[in-house]
């Protein structure tokens, strides 16, 4: 494994008596795209701001390219950043905005002009050079902000919820554009978001944060399919959580409501009589028994929502409710509320949360 390009080591940040980031550790490989995902107030932006130099860590170290930058000022770090509110300079044209970092860095005018043209081509807005920020849409402004951040060839690119202020359609197209530019340039990138779909779709790895700590760091596949904690399982994707009681630890028997399921080899040291939280993704569950599914539970249809291409069904199993989606089939009518129903799944898809 190569040396990490960015290394955040035992970083803590307190504001007075409140600790917002505690013992945060993360190594990022060169060219990697890592997302910080978490709810508001989880400390993700604070960590990003410490990497940028806008906040000084109360403890710990931040190393970029082998150099300790913990105490360096933001203008000495050679880091690019895109802000949620675009932060384009209103008094400067698009071209002048992109050239700002180049001029501050002392680049000759001819070289700066060439680089600005290159950047405008990259974001596919070459005709916008002489426009002012107020003449652009939100998506265009954010693309200019991205070009401005990348123009001085920073070592590291920080994206602080850059898509939050945009409408849904622009968000999707811009996030794909950001990812494609990042891959093309091979620039190491940290992306802060509270939107799990955004994080899952464009990241190499995700750090899911909660309460100032990284709950889990892993690939989108790992985070989604093997959540390490109850918080990660609940926060990332939709999850059905069933309360169960271990009836026989040696054979892996767990009672859900009045029915029994077998979870052999997944109980991780739980003893008979222990209460467990069992998690199942909606896409792992089928209505009625399916081949390959070794476990089934009986219940009653509680809710049916027709959403067009899919039908969302909620099935009550004792005190638990399980949500699942079925594809709409024009020849089969949707289930009826109050009907008895069996759900089936593979016991291997069931996660035991700690």
């Amino acid at each position: 494994m190569a040396d990490p390009f960015l290394s955040i080591q035992h970083v803590r940040k307190s504001f007075g008596a409140t600790t917002v980031v505690q013992d945060f550790n993360l190594d990022v490989e060169p060219g990697e795209f890592v997302s910080f995902l978490g709810p508001s107030g989880c400390g993700k932006t604070t960590v990003l701001r410490m990497v940028a130099g806008f906040e000084e860590p109360s403890a710990g170290k931040i190393v970029v390219g082998g150099k300790d930058i913990t105490r360096l000022k933001p203008n000495q770090r050679n880091v690019g950043m895109v802000f949620q509110a675009y932060a384009l300079f209103p008094n400067l044209t698009v071209a002048q905005n992109i050239a700002f970092g180049l001029k501050v860095g002392g680049m000759a005018k001819a070289d700066a002009d060439r680089r600005v043209a290159e950047m405008l081509d990259m974001i596919k807005l070459p005709q916008m050079a002489d426009r002012y920020p107020y003449q652009l849409s939100g998506g265009q402004q954010q693309r200019i902000a991205l070009a401005r951040a990348i123009a001085p060839k920073p070592k590291l690119l920080l994206l602080d919820e850059p898509l939050s202020a945009l409408d849904a359609k622009v968000r999707v197209s811009l996030r794909e554009e950001i990812r494609s530019i990042q891959k093309k340039l091979g620039i190491t990138t940290i992306f802060v978001t509270h939107d799990q779909e955004e994080a899952l779709s464009i990241s190499d790895r995700i750090a899911v944060m909660y309460g100032g700590k990284a709950e889990q760091v892993g690939t989108p596949f790992e985070i989604y399919n093997r959540p390490a904690t109850k918080f990660v399982a609940n926060f990332v994707g939709t999850l059905n959580v069933l309360e169960g009681k271990v009836t026989d630890a040696s054979t892996g028997k767990v009672q859900v409501d009045t029915q029994e399921v077998s979870l052999k080899g997944k109980l991780n040291g739980s003893k008979s009589g222990d209460t467990l939280s069992l998690a199942l993704r909606p896409e792992a569950i089928s209505l009625a028994r399916q081949p390959g599914h070794d476990t089934s539970l009986s219940g009653e249809i509680a809710e049916v929502h027709f959403l067009g291409s899919v039908i969302r069904v909620r099935v009550g199993i004792g005190g638990n409710t399980v949500s699942l989606d079925t594809f709409n089939n024009s020849t089969t009518p949707p289930p009826v509320v109050g009907d008895k129903a069996d759900i089936s799944f593979s016991s291997g898809d069931m996660l035991v949360l700690h």
Binding site: A52, F54, N75, A87, N91, L92, Q141
Partner: protein
């Protein structure tokens, strides 16, 4: 016509009359210097007076230096308070309001005691130093207007994010203030500058007691000894004032616009 609209017109006409009647009367009086006919004689006398020219030019130069000093003090202070020390805002606002309650004569007597010819720092015995003290005093007098204008301008932009965006691109504090903050609050600074100009041009107490050849004392002298010329001078001052305001309007067309306030 609806009753509401009728009363709106009545109020408008009364307001306009309150504003225009004294102005028309002053214009009319200023034109009556020559017996029996209207003429611009009073204006010719005022504009042809060498003392008018020298005192007016002196006050204009002092006003320019006062504006420069005010901008140098107020812009970085208001910026820093907004960026890093918002908890100090009430204190700074209180300090900037002090010149409204402490009369100019207090500052002058302070100057005379501190810097008089018998004091350890006899700046008032030197013309250049006295002029500098006058500029500093005027900057203090104009502080409430300049600070409020700049602070209001800063409120219309996202000071923190713009500062951080400039810093992360490699800019130091000087570049941030000169190339990002100042251009974006230029209209607010110009408004403050105009108010400063208006205060300095007509100021009498400080200029008179420091024995400076300024426009205020000249104006006072003229009012005390002549009849028609002060009226002409009032109209000239009125035109200069409205000229300045029109200039601000013209300059504001070239001001930076943000997405939040287009045009």
């Amino acid at each position: 016509m609806k009753a509401g609209k009728f009363w709106a017109w009545v109020v408008f006409i009364l307001g306009a009359a309150y504003f225009f009647i004294p102005l028309i009367a002053t214009v009319e009086f200023s034109l009556r210097m020559r017996r029996g006919v209207y003429s611009f004689d009073a204006y010719k006398v005022v504009l042809g007076d060498s003392q008018f020219q020298t005192t007016f030019m002196y006050s204009v130069i002092v006003a320019i230096f006062t504006i420069l000093l005010g901008v140098l003090i107020v812009v970085p202070t208001a910026y820093w308070i907004r960026l890093r020390l918002p908890q100090l805002r009430p204190v700074v606002e209180f300090i900037t309001l002090l010149p409204l309650v402490i009369p100019a004569i207090v500052i002058v007597f302070g100057y005379i005691r501190m810097y008089g010819s018998n004091s350890p720092l006899p700046f008032l015995s030197n013309n250049v130093a006295t002029n500098a003290l006058l500029v500093i005093g005027y900057a203090a007098l104009a502080l409430p207007y300049m600070y409020r204008a700049v602070d209001t301008g800063l409120r219309t932009i996202d000071v923190r994010t713009l500062t951080e965006a400039a810093q992360i691109l490699g800019a130091g504090w000087g570049t941030v203030v000169a190339r990002v903050i100042l251009p974006n609050v230029l209209i607010a600074v110009l408004s403050g500058a105009f108010l400063t100009f208006a205060i300095v041009i007509g100021e009498f107490t400080m200029a008179s007691l420091l024995n400076r050849p300024a426009f205020g004392p000249y104006l006072q002298n003229l009012v005390a000894n002549r009849a028609y010329e002060p009226a002409a001078l009032s109209i000239i001052a009125f035109i200069i004032t409205w000229g300045c305001m029109s200039l601000i309007q013209v300059l504001s067309r070239f001001a930076p616009k943000s997405a939040n306030r287009p045009n």
